[in-house]
Symmetry: C2
Subunit: 277 residues, 2 copies
């Protein structure tokens, strides 16, 4: 194996404030099955939404230093808040490529809308920051963006209440306003929300396009790796332990949640002291 | 004013991982109206439940150093996790008294139960740690303690859904097991839960004694201050700005929540960098 190939077989680094980014890892596993992942979940300092830009930048820089020690070839910021607050600044400090979840989701929504009315749902932090609106308006200033915070969706998803009547009730309340506003495209602007996709689909109806930034990010990652000649050629088949998971606290409950949503069982999750990085 | 009186007029320090401990502050304001409070909410590092003992000890020591700089005469640990993990170790390092929320709640429940069957509800972290069980068994080894985690109660309380049908539905599910187990006393073992008291009361029925550790802690604080001669003699009336609030992140949303539950409006919440202490 020459050095170019060795370079290609390095893992993809990925991080989120906790378990939410696992929906992005899931899409990468499904759509880029040759790639190995090193995932870091900042479970000691979750949630990021609501924290200041300075704090998010400091946390993200620590995690990037850790991922670089793991010799990753690219970094996916699988967290809306860190994508919005830290990506642009940190990418210029690195010699490996870095992508986030916000831009791919915003781009796809702009291409999908027919009536120019796009809805965005997310945490209070994401919606208050207006980060999707900003990205969308850069691409298409003519589009109207209607944001709606759905604060109970994350705990409902983490409790595994994915099709529960309580989740249906809350989705009905949260999404009523977006339906009234006649949106034709809805961005699932929080990494947890794809887990609630079937309830959201039921409430919104078939005529609304649901944009899953986790999937769009996996597609962006594929294009990026192809463009830079970094895509893996290996065919790992069902080889175990290819993906590695690290957290800043509570590895057991992380592993339990990961195994409930990922296409492969993870056997090992290691806790590290992220504040040392 | 002589030095003894000056000493008495120093504020009471109080801390929690976030907004939950405000229910303790509320009880102190109601029951000890002469006392001034300095409250610290560790909103940058919330939640504490699920974090390791070493982490909680480190966080608590930082906060105690900050409160001592504010010249407090006593410290109330208004957080279940920190009360369990940090109180005993840190109190021996201080020359001012320190109390927590777990012991007062456990003691009252032991006195209240007639059939020796006590229920405890709390976050996953609190229930998994078995901290209330341990305190209760020390006081009354004959008592049976049945714990139940209610993970959605905190987000429901923080969303202000205090009497919402969804909250009633979730309370019905969470509490069914405790009703079947025939408990006669229920400890609201999370600082947020007193906000859901009326729904919990409705589900459990009138024959079950609800123990609110926030109220019991205020009573303990009164006894402590009287015993040590530190109770304030001042009659502040409706004087503004007597209580001071500090957080480690997002002061605006803290203030909004505080004003929704406290008997007085707070005008000012200051953000500090707790990691410098």
């Amino acid at each position: 194996m020459d050095s170019v190939n060795k370079n290609r077989e390095r893992p993809v680094g990925m991080f989120d404030s906790g378990v939410g980014g696992l929906t992005v890892a899931r899409e990468v596993m499904r759509n880029l099955p040759n790639e190995n992942i090193v995932y870091f979940g900042d479970t000691a300092r979750v949630p990021y939404g609501g924290k200041s830009k300075e704090t998010i930048l400091r946390y993200s820089r620590q995690i990037v230093r850790f991922l670089q020690q793991q010799d990753v070839k690219a970094i996916v910021v699988a967290c809306n808040t860190a994508s919005a607050f830290a990506l642009e600044e940190i990418r210029h400090e690195l010699d490996i490529p870095m992508i986030g979840v916000v831009k791919p989701g915003a781009k796809t929504a702009c291409e999908a809308t027919r009536n120019g009315r796009i809805g965005v749902i997310g945490t209070k932090g994401t919606i208050a920051s207006g980060l999707y609106t900003e990205f969308i308006r850069k691409l298409r200033p003519d589009v109207q963006v209607i944001g709606k915070a759905c604060p109970l969706f994350v705990p409902l998803a983490e409790e595994g209440m994915l099709k529960d009547p309580v989740t249906v009730e809350m989705a009905g309340r949260y999404l009523a306003e977006l339906k009234e506003q006649d949106i034709d495209t809805l961005i699932l602007g929080c990494t947890h929300y794809p887990l609630l996709r079937s309830v959201i689909r039921e409430v919104m109806g078939e005529h609304v396009t649901l944009v899953n930034p986790a999937y769009e990010t996996a597609c962006s990652l594929r294009k990026l790796l192809e463009k830079t000649g970094l895509q893996s050629d290996a065919n790992p088949g069902l080889q175990k332990g290819r993906h590695r998971f690290f957290v800043s606290d509570a590895p057991e409950s992380f592993r339990e949640f990961a195994n409930s949503i990922l296409p492969v069982d993870i056997e090992h999750t290691q806790r590290i002291n992220i504040e040392e990085f």
